[in-house]
């Protein structure tokens, strides 16, 4: 198979497969070769062979933390090294049922804790635009694979920005759906009240198609609701009558080149007939503080199960307690330990109300901010990340600086609402992401507006074509 597939979006490839120009097996084999040739560290596992039934859609790259039966699923952690689950996550199963086969498992920050992919237990991922820079995280492998053309499309998870921020830093589309849109069953848990699965794709149309197949109510996840109605292919050309509320352009850390790209996009909004106005989210600046209590607190409980008894490697001699403690000492990386410690501290006797209780109230306030904003506007727009992709190693010495990378993306999962990042332009030769958030279950509206903007922006940049 020649490189003609590389130039096509997943939707275009699906059409070729449907028309019989290319067989699904040929497409799988082509992408398997691309994935196996990856030099960025994007993959932790690549399918060894083309499945007998290659389906009807191009294959999909899946973040390591999705359980896939018989396939290594380690959530980027040494504590799950070699783990091959006996079952498949509902989201992945839904894609398989729709005709997409699993191409490979993508690298990620350990247990999805990170914003640079440098916290993976299996090594970092390089950004395909500049291999001295990070791809973002935690779904860094999925984003790098799609951007580098080693996967036609991918899925990841977003807890505080882990789909949108790497999509932004790699110049692709990434969407975090409404909490409850996609089943979390079989997704190795980080923070259960925030985690949500979503697509990382070349364009908005591919994202809509993937979400169409991913979403749905699942009896195995009682918090799953699915998305009401159909997800049609987006086709809007105009934004007439739609109001865009811009937020966060006064932040001190916002790079001028990022601000320029956002402003250029806002000019496009107006050219297409949309209205732009300033809005306030008065409590959003406390999002990071609330998030870094809630997410570690939930994580400290979710990660209690890794104790060297039922799966993963075991270390330690002596009694049961020292087996637990030594297994966790050896298996968890630095950032995971840090978050277990923060979470355990925040939930410990005497501190619960001061930290967890307060953070939950801030969460309410942030949700109220969005609700108030959506009375006046259809979308909240902001940069996805204050900066373009940063250098490998640049923020690893300062955990708090790394946490602040999520400034623009953390408020949405706290409120449970959907948000997309689409490529808005380049700054210093690196991609800039534009974020659009809407009310719960407004995915179709977000896709339509993003599609119209995508056409107007005319983003054709890829690191591999240059």
């Amino acid at each position: 198979m020649s490189d003609e597939l590389l130039a096509l979006t997943a939707a275009e490839q699906a059409k070729r497969i449907e028309s019989g120009d290319v067989s699904a097996a040929e497409a799988f084999e082509y992408w398997r070769g691309r994935a196996a040739g990856d030099e960025l560290g994007s993959y932790l596992w690549v399918a060894e062979e083309t499945p007998e039934d290659a389906g009807t859609l191009p294959p999909v790259a899946v973040k390591d933390l999705f359980c896939v039966e018989g396939v290594p699923s380690m959530a980027g952690s040494r504590i799950l090294e070699g783990y091959r689950p006996p079952y498949t996550a509902t989201s992945v199963r839904n894609l398989q049922d729709a005709g997409a086969r699993v191409l490979g498992k993508t690298n990620q920050d350990e247990f999805a804790m990170g914003s640079s992919n440098e916290n993976s237990g299996f090594g970092p991922v390089e950004n395909p635009w500049d291999r001295t820079r990070v791809p973002g995280g935690s779904s860094g492998g999925s984003a790098a694979a799609v951007a580098a053309g080693t996967a036609p499309w991918a899925i990841g998870t977003d807890t505080g920005g882990s789909i949108r921020q790497p999509a932004s830093l790699c110049g692709i589309v990434g969407m975090k759906p409404t909490y409850g849109a996609v089943s979390r069953y079989g997704m190795i848990a980080f923070a259960s009240s925030l985690d949500q699965c979503g697509p990382l794709t070349r364009d908005v149309t591919d994202a809509a198609i993937l979400l169409r197949h991913l979403q749905g109510r699942d009896p195995c996840d009682s918090t799953s609701l699915g998305i009401p109605g159909e997800i049609p292919l987006p086709s809007a050309e105009r934004l007439d009558g739609l109001r865009f509320g811009i937020w966060g352009m006064e932040e001190a850390g916002l790079e001028p080149g990022v601000a320029d790209a956002v402003n250029a996009t806002l000019a496009k909004v107006e050219e297409l007939g949309g209205g732009v106005e300033q809005i306030e989210l008065p409590n959003a600046k406390h999002g990071i503080a609330a998030y870094y209590v809630i997410a570690p607190a939930e994580a400290s409980a979710n990660l209690a199960r890794y104790d060297g008894v039922r799966y993963g490697p075991r270390s330690g001699n002596g009694d049961l307690t020292s087996l637990y403690e030594q297994t966790r000492h050896d298996g968890f990386g630095e950032e995971v330990k840090r978050r277990i410690m923060i979470g355990t501290y925040a939930l410990s006797s005497g501190y619960y109300e001061a930290y967890y209780g307060t953070a939950q109230k801030v969460r309410t306030r942030i949700a109220q901010d969005f609700a108030a904003a959506f009375e006046g506007v259809d979308f909240v727009v902001s940069p996805t990340s204050a900066t373009v992709a940063f250098k490998l190693g640049e923020r690893t010495a300062d955990p708090l600086a790394m946490y602040l990378s999520d400034y623009y993306t953390v408020p949405m999962p706290l409120a449970g609402i959907p948000a997309i990042s689409i490529p808005g332009g380049l700054s210093e030769g690196l991609p800039v992401g534009i974020q659009l958030a809407g009310p719960a279950f407004s995915e179709n509206k977000i896709f339509e507006a993003s599609y119209a903007l995508e056409q107007a922006i005319g983003w054709k940049e890829t690191p591999w074509r240059r």
Binding site: V293, T344, Y345, G357, P399
Partner: protein, 95 residues
Amino acid sequence: MIDRDQVLHVAKLARLRLDDDEVDRMAGELSKILEHVETMNELDLDGVEPTSHVVDLTNVLREDVPRDGLDRETALEQAPDAASGGFRVPSPGAS
């Protein structure tokens, strides 16, 4: 703000052994992170309801239909030490 003893206490609660240098580093890092977290206290949150979950659902029920779970062999397949049809661990009291 967080000292060595507190780090060791929390690590014990979390069943996490930390190396000596990790204890010191963790004390500094956790203090700095919690200092940022405490900026939440600038807000007047009197009367604000806490949000534990964004989906407004209560008592999600389904039909009580039995279905197969994992069989024993499959469940034990990934264990680091399976024996006699169970997960083998040292005695909780052994030293």
